[in-house]
Structures are given as C-alpha cells and as structure tokens.
C-alpha cells in the first residue's frame, strides 16, 4: 500500500512537472515569436536603410515622388531604387504625436485629479464609464466622425480664403489637416492616460495627504503638491502608454490628416501651420499597403515599420524604468 501511494505521489509529481514544462514551453514559443518578429522586420528593412544611410531620416525631395519611383522600380527588368528621405513623414508624426500627447496630458491630469478627489459622487459615477467608453471606441469610428464632421468644419469655418491663398503655391488647404488629427487623437489617448493616472492617484497613501491638510494647506494644493507628485511614476507610465498609441495610430490619422507627404511648415504662421495636410509614418504603411508587391517598396515600408517598432520599444523601456521607483512605495500601476 505504501509503495502504491509512493508511486501515486510520483506520478502526480510528474504530472505537475509536465504541466509546468508545457506552460513554460508555450511561453517560450510566444516570446520567441515576438523576438523573431523584431529580427524579421529589421531584416526586411535593412536594404532601405543600407542604401540611404542616415539620409533616410533626413529631408530632401518629395516623399511622394520618391515612393512612386521606388514602387515603379519594382517591375521586372528594372534596377530597384531605394532613395527615400522620410523627414516629412517623421516631422508629421512628431508634430501630431507631441502636440496631442501634451494636450492630452494636461487635460487628463486635471480630469484624473478631479475624478479621484474633487468630483461629486454622481459625477464620478458618470465619468468613469465615460472614460472607459472613449477609450474603447474603435479608431475607425473616430476617423469616420473626423472625416465627416471635424474636417468639413475646419475646412468651411476655420480656414479663410486669405489663408488658403497664402500657401497655395505649396499645398491646398481643404480641412484635412494636422489640426484635425491632433484634436481627435487627443480625445482618443486622453482616456488611456486618465485611467492610469487615476489609478496612481488613488493609491497615494492617505496619511500623506492628511499630513499636509493638518498643516493647513487647502485641498487643491495638497492634492496637487503631494498627491500628484507621489503619483509621478504613474504619470510617466500613462503618458508612455498613450504615446505608443498615438505613434502607432494609423487608421484615424491617415483618414483625417490628408494623406499628402507634406511637412507642415512652421514658417507659414500659427493658424496656417495647423491647417496644413500631412501624412504620418504609420499612415503611410496603411496608405501604401497595396504596393507591398513591389520588392523595393516592401523594404521601404518595413523600414518605416522598423522605426515605429524601435520607438515603441524605447517607449516601453521608458515606462519600465519609470515604474521602478514606484515599487519602493509598494504601489502597483
């Protein structure tokens, strides 16, 4: 009997071990697949980078003409062309991402503080589902509303004839603009920030706030100086998450920003700059996805994807690094 029990014990132990190994193998496969993705994308992207060097990131010539040349050179019996200067796309991506993230950061911080500390109970009960809803509306719906509501509004009511004439030599202003992309992107990414910020703010130790209040500091100032400062790592984490979303948002931005490889020119003055059309890196992949059949074009698009992937990786790393000090307080975000 004892031996039988021992045997049973043994088989049970091995069953457990088998389960652990199976799960571990599955984890390895998934992680391996994702690492392989990194390698494959970089491998496919290499020809484009190798031919252009650092000029890939530079300015010069029209991106749209360059992509056209790259695409047609993919036909048989032609030497592939790789000349590509992505600066207008990079500039558009930077402008749209930086402006919408900063706009979203400020508003998300205020809304998160309001939601956690200052809103009356009924409003809090409305705000929480509202934030979740705004975060879960598909980007194509935002894009559709942008194209049918925001873009015509900008084109018909905000852009004056004078402004149109002032840049007519370079680009035509129709309402498809950087401004539309920034505004809608702000609405899309602010809820992500609000959710993370609010979680960080909620986990600020109550005693710290009470200590400040006991010293006679008012509630607003207490929460701002103690609460928000303590939750700083959460602010970074939320911002990183939202920035990643903004960088990679291809569908909505591609729909409303005009789809022209044009670098909005700050020298055109402030309102006009925001009315100018552009195309971001991610939107370029969507717009040209039918041209993957041409090998040089394929390599160029993979190069764009590699840049996006690298930025996303850098962002995750920043987020990870920012979370480290938070662990000291035993705060999870």
């Amino acid at each position: 009997v004892y031996e039988q029990a021992l045997h049973e014990e043994d088989s049970r132990f091995s069953e457990d071990q088998r389960a652990e190994l199976t799960l571990g193998a599955l984890v390895c496969v998934v992680v391996g697949l994702l690492l392989a993705m990194l390698v494959f994308v970089l491998h496919e992207a290499w020809p484009s980078f190798a031919h252009n060097g650092f000029a890939w990131f530079g300015a010069g010539g029209s991106v749209d003409n360059e992509t056209q040349a790259i695409f047609t050179s993919g036909d048989l019996n032609q030497t592939p062309v790789y000349l590509f200067h992505a600066w207008p796309l990079i500039w558009a991506t930077l402008v749209i991402t930086v402006l919408s993230v900063s706009l979203a950061f400020v508003s998300a911080l205020f809304v998160a503080v309001f939601m956690v500390e200052f809103a009356p109970e009924w409003l809090r009960r409305v705000l929480e589902p509202v934030v979740r809803l705004l975060a879960s509306v598909p980007s194509v719906i935002y894009g559709l509303l942008g194209v049918l509501v925001v873009v015509p509004f900008i084109g018909n009511h905000l852009i004056t004839q004078h402004e149109k004439a002032s840049v007519a030599y370079a680009v035509s202003l129709s309402g498809y603009s950087v401004l539309a992309a920034i505004l809608i992107l702000t609405v899309m990414i602010a809820p992500i920030m609000i959710a993370v910020f609010a979680e960080g703010l909620r986990s600020v130790p109550r005693g710290w706030l009470e200590g400040s209040l006991a010293l006679g500091v008012n509630r607003w100032r207490t929460f701002w100086k103690v609460g928000v400062r303590t939750a700083r790592p959460a602010l970074v984490a939320g911002t990183v998450l939202a920035t990643a979303r903004a960088l990679g948002e291809a569908v909505m931005v591609g729909m409303v920003s005009g789809g022209v490889g044009f670098a909005p020119n700050p020298a055109d003055g402030v309102p006009v700059f925001f009315f100018e059309p552009s195309r971001t890196l991610a939107a370029t992949i969507i717009a040209d996805n039918n041209e993957l059949t041409s090998p040089p074009m394929k390599h160029t698009l993979y190069a764009i994807a590699a840049v996006l992937l690298f930025s996303a990786a850098m962002l995750s790393f920043t987020g990870w690094a920012a979370k480290q000090p938070m662990k000291r307080y035993g705060i999870r975000a």
């Binding site: 994308v41 809304v111 934030v131 609405v187 990183v240 291809a250």
Partner: protein, 324 residues
C-alpha cells in the same frame, strides 16, 4: 478607499461636504485650477455624449433592417450597394477565431507567470515582452503578418496560386489579431489570480492537491470573472482593429471562399469586417458611401457599448469577490 475625505475632521463617514464657502478662502490660482478641472471633466462627458448621440441619430437615419441581411454589392448609388451582412459575419468570425487563440494562450501565460514563473529571468522577459506587445502598433503587427503568411511554409492557411502564396485569409488576420488581444487577457487574468490570497492555495495543497490541479480546480474558477473581463476587453480590441484586417483579410467586398469545403473555404478566403467596411465607405476610402459607413459605425458602436457594459458587470463581480 474607505478613509474619510481629505478635509479631515468630517463627522460623518464618507467625503466631507464641499460648498462654495470652503473654496472661498483659497488662492485665486487654486480656484481657477478647480474650475478648470470641472470644465475638463464635464467636457469629456459632453464629448462622449456627443459621439454616442450623433451616431445614434445617424444610425436611426440610415440603419434599415434590410442592411443587416444583405451583402455589399458594387454600385455608385447609396441605394444599390447592398447591406453589410458579410462584414458582420466577418467581424464575428474574426472575433471568435482570434479569441479562441488568445484566450487559452493568454490564460496559460497568466497562469505560468503568476503560479510558476521559474526561471525568474524567463518570467521577467515574458512580462516585459507582453507589456511591450501592448505598445506595438497594430499596423506593424499587420506588416509582420504579411511576411509570415506569405511564406510558403504557412501557405496552407491562405490561397495559393501557382506557387505564390496570397497570404490574406481569415486565418492570417485572426492569428495576428489574437496578438492584439493577448496582452489584455494576460494582464487581466494575472491580476485576478494574484488577487487570490495564498491561503487558498495552501489549503488546496494541504489536502494533497498538486499545483496544476489547484490551478484548474480552485484558482481558475475563482478567477473566472477576471477571465471573462479579459476576454471581453480582448474582443473589444479585436473588433475595433482596422489595420490588421486591411492588410491580412484583404477587405474584399464580400466573403470570397477558396476551395469547396463549406466552412474551411470561407476561412481560407478573404473578406471584410465592420471596421474595414467603415474604412472603405468613408469619404477617404475606395467605396465612399458615407451613409453605409454611418450605419455600420452605429452597429459597431452598439456592440462596443454592449461589451463595455459586460466588462462593467463582470469587473464589479470580480471586485465583490474580495478575499478577506
């Protein structure tokens, strides 16, 4: 948080009453800040309400019952381009297939991370990989998918013509979409598992159960609300994604099967989902039928709202299951 409000000496439990006289002594900048917080908070409510109400109005204007049961057809007039039965079936198929991949894999990874997690290095690598997966733009995943599914090795998952693998099928799109849902599932399930206190596990070990039996019989049933929440969050991401569908499903007008086996032919073939249908029917798309796009957007929004409601219910249920 059960503590009293920050205005400490409130006699009653809960938050202290706040009235105008309380802020009257504040500095002007503080009062402006609070006012700004109110304005922005209300602004977000207004934006959300505007989106929902606007789409509701457009939905009432343009959704007709026959749109839901007819397939899209080519045409120049909004009256003869058919409905969007095909895209709806596409959304359903893609969601079901992507989740049938993402849910078991996600739960398995979450279990491994929370219950095993050895060796520690692999656990850390996995954790950060899953985290960065959430940050990878879906357009990059889509591009990687074209590379993966156009390779001859995976040619059996899509149409192959004279040795050239087409690489666009429901299988390809669902496989990549499952990667979009995976981080949501892993994070939510893992949080649910970690919320279960260790004495529950120890009680199960004490009666002689193995680790895997404990996980299967005790932990996963206890974490079921989190599993369901994670699944619904994942479905929300899957049905909302456009980039992967455009690149890997072909976004063709109707479901175009390959071969003659009934269901398999559809899954091997191309099609479209509600998102790609909206994308194509927006004024910037190839078809440009805004009324149809509005109608489809309304249907999609209703599905998303329903999912949100479901998440709400189940995450509340998960919270009620607080272990003492």
């Amino acid at each position: 948080m059960t503590a009293a409000g920050v205005t400490a000496p409130a006699p009653a439990p809960g938050r202290a009453p706040r009235g105008r006289q309380r802020t009257a002594t504040w500095r002007l900048t503080d009062r402006i800040g609070l006012a700004l917080a109110w304005v922005l908070g209300l602004l977000f409510c207004v934006i959300a309400a505007a989106i929902v109400i606007y789409l509701l109005i457009q939905g009432i204007r343009f959704v007709r019952p026959n749109l839901l049961v007819t397939n899209p057809t080519a045409g120049f007039n909004q009256n003869d381009t058919g409905g969007f039965l095909g895209p709806m079936i596409g959304t359903l198929l893609v969601a079901a297939m992507a989740m049938s991949l993402a849910l078991p894999i996600g739960v398995a990874i979450a279990v491994w991370l929370s219950e095993y997690g050895r060796p520690g290095l692999l656990a850390r690598v996995t954790e950060s990989t899953i985290e960065s997966l959430a940050g990878i733009p879906s357009i990059v995943l889509a591009l990687f998918g074209t590379l993966l599914f156009e390779s001859p090795v995976l040619g059996f998952l899509s149409e192959t013509n004279a040795g050239v693998v087409y690489g666009k099928s429901f299988f390809a799109a669902s496989a990549m979409l499952s990667l979009v849902a995976l981080p949501m599932v892993v994070t939510t399930v893992r949080e649910g598992l970690q919320a279960i206190p260790s004495h529950v596990r120890e009680a199960s070990y004490a009666v002689g159960k193995t680790k895997i039996a404990t996980t299967r019989r005790v932990l996963l049933p206890a974490a079921r609300p989190s599993v369901i929440t994670g699944a619904m969050l994942g479905v929300g991401r899957v049905i909302g994604d456009t980039a992967i569908v455009l690149l890997l499903l072909g976004s063709t007008l109707s479901l175009e099967g390959v071969g003659s086996v009934p269901l398999l032919s559809t899954l091997l073939g191309t099609g479209s989902t509600l998102t790609s249908y909206i994308y194509d029917n927006a004024p910037t798309g190839d078809l440009n039928q805004p009324n149809k796009a509005y109608a489809a957007a309304f249907v999609l929004l209703v599905v998303v709202l329903a999912l949100n409601l479901g998440v709400d219910v189940y995450s509340r249920r998960a919270r009620r299951l607080r272990w003492g």
